[in-house]
């Protein structure tokens, strides 16, 4: 398409206009600024969407006062957050308290920087880009701990420890389910993963038995990784007064959403064909539009889940992670191996599909029969109904 080289051509001409010494800086700034501004803007849109959708789910209007249909609510919120007094507790560890959100923001941004937004549109090209993504994701755990510990508040510390335990547990199925994609493409680079999925919706990895299971496992682990409902135990407003975020004012949602965007962008890249259009005809629409719309769809899915699923208990969360997610992702690895050995095709579809579906059925039935997983009956809450 004619527009594919356009952003890079504009960048090159702008860089050439800069003085000699400043050119590398100029190039770096031109690569990063679109990402920063696009995701800042997307963040504003998504907060509004989230409040509107949650309102719809809960049978109320949601924000509708600022501007027509409340569309200027993000602007008002932004002004409020920016002008809010930044309160730091007296006993807090000031340096670490200040550094924690910074580290979180930087890791989210670094994660976004390796995502290809279109043909040749990637801020940083790494051979081992996917490993890089998970590496910076691991650093986010440290930031959560820093936030919780530096606040010198027992609720914040408890919340951050819960968050870290959850993130560490779900990182394993997260990485294992993305390994299937790496096995099939034989590369650790985002660009190559997306290249393999070119040519319409049928070549997306979502529409293979292993890719389907992998995508679902990946999405569930993503929910846990970004502490989103139904895995929002660390935030638990009613019990832990927002966990590690307790002593922070204002910035909370920005950081929270950026990490989520990075994970959704990776999901779209790994399983949903990245910047490719679903039909070859539709590729007259530029790649970044496709990637951002896929990403927004995933975020909408998350909002839907948030509005309709109850929060898991802490032990349920751990058992689900270790007893269901982990075995399923290992089984998915095996069936991906079978898929590669059979070289796809109808036989590959049948065998891997049967393998995954059978494993799902068997594992879920077996776990449901386990005495620990029977429906819990509370003597005082459920008593009269049971007696009847």
């Amino acid at each position: 398409m004619w527009f594919e080289g356009l952003p890079n051509a504009i960048k090159a001409s702008l860089v050439l206009k800069a003085p000699e010494g400043l050119r590398p800086l100029m190039a770096a700034a031109l690569s990063t600024m679109p990402i920063l501004s696009a995701f800042g803007g997307l963040f504003a849109v998504v907060t509004l969407l989230e409040r509107k959708m949650l309102g719809r789910i809960q049978n109320r209007y949601g924000p509708n006062r600022v501007g027509p249909l409340g569309i200027f609510q993000p602007v008002a919120d932004g002004i409020k957050m920016l002008t809010k007094e930044d309160i730091v507790p007296k006993t807090a560890d000031h340096l670490i308290h200040f550094l924690a959100p910074l580290v979180l923001l930087v890791t989210a941004m670094l994660g976004l920087s390796v995502i290809p937004f279109g043909q040749k549109l990637v801020a940083v090209e790494f051979e081992a880009g996917i490993v890089f993504f998970f590496a910076v994701g691991g650093a986010a755990e440290l930031a959560v701990f820093m936030a919780g510990w530096a606040s010198r508040n027992k609720y914040a510390l408890l919340g951050s420890l819960r968050a870290i335990a959850q993130m560490v547990s779900y990182e394993i199925p997260l990485i294992l389910s993305s390994v299937c994609v790496l096995m099939v493409t034989g590369s650790l680079s985002h660009t190559e993963v997306v290249q393999t999925q070119s040519g319409g919706i049928t070549s997306w990895f979502l529409f293979t038995p292993w890719g389907f299971l992998g995508c679902i496992l990946f999405l569930i682990s993503t929910l846990a990784e970004v502490n989103r409902s139904p895995f929002d135990i660390p935030e638990a407003e009613s019990e832990l007064i927002a966990g590690h975020m307790t002593e922070y004012s204002g910035f909370k949602y920005a950081v929270f959403f950026l990490a989520e965007f990075a994970m959704c962008a990776l999901t779209a890249t790994l399983f949903l064909g990245g910047y490719h259009a679903p039909l070859p005809v539709l590729s007259i629409i530029p790649g970044p539009v496709w990637l951002l719309s896929k990403l927004t769809l995933l975020v909408l899915l998350f909002i839907w889940i948030r509005g309709t699923m109850p929060r898991l208990r802490s032990d349920q969360l751990m058992e689900f992670g270790w007893k269901f997610m982990l075995p399923m992702s290992v089984i998915n690895l095996v069936s991906t191996g079978i898929w590669i050995a059979l070289d796809g095709g109808l036989l590959g579809w049948l065998v891997t599909g049967a393998c995954n579906f059978g494993a799902y059925l068997g594992l879920s039935r077996w776990l449901a029969d386990h005495p620990n997983h029977r429906k819990r009956v509370y003597q005082y809450a459920d008593g009269p109904i049971n007696a009847a």
Partner: protein, 174 residues
């Protein structure tokens, strides 16, 4: 010696010194993490991306978190600072460090590794990595796997409740 290498090594060494000399143990862990990141950056300088990122993933994402958990689970908030050092500790510490340094130095200069130069070309396809792990380095890989399994079983044994033979009496509220 280029500027980037100088910056990275200065940061690594400074944070390593801070990790040993700071009073607050959590600060020490955070400085240690900075050291890990510095080592990862050194790998990147040697144009081995995979090892560099794996270093961040394992050491920053897992090992430092493990240290933090160990710290917070075993000590209460007031004990998170170190006691003052005694002169004899200095002497022993210096001796052990020098001994370790001599051992490592001798073994590195004695082995074939010291003669090797980092190859500038990128040979990091997943396939090459997998083949190296499964053919050339199979025995170390298996030994590591065995070690980790033993550690896992040991941890599970330690974590088992002392009276796991007795029937569970958890259902009292049912």
């Amino acid at each position: 010696m280029n500027t980037i290498f100088l910056l990275i090594s200065l940061t690594t060494i400074a944070s390593a010194i801070a990790a040993m000399s700071l009073r607050n143990l959590v600060h020490c862990v955070l400085c240690l993490t900075l050291t890990f990141i510095g080592i990862a950056l050194t790998y990147l300088q040697l144009s081995s991306q995979f090892i560099g990122f794996a270093q961040v993933m394992v050491y920053v994402g897992a090992v430092s978190i493990l240290i933090i958990f160990a710290l917070l689970m075993t000590r209460s908030g007031h004990e998170l600072t170190l006691r003052e050092w005694r002169p004899m500790h200095w002497v022993w510490g210096t001796l052990i460090t020098l001994g370790l340094l001599a051992c490592l130095g001798l073994s590195i200069t004695g082995s074939s590794v010291s003669g090797k130069v980092a190859s500038p070309e990128k040979s990091e396809s997943v396939k090459a990595l997998g083949q190296a792990l499964m053919q050339e380095y199979l025995l170390p890989l298996e030994a590591m796997a065995l070690l980790l399994t033993v550690a896992l079983i040991g941890a599970a044994l330690v974590a088992l409740p002392a009276s796991h033979h007795a029937p569970a009496s958890k259902g009292s509220n049912e």
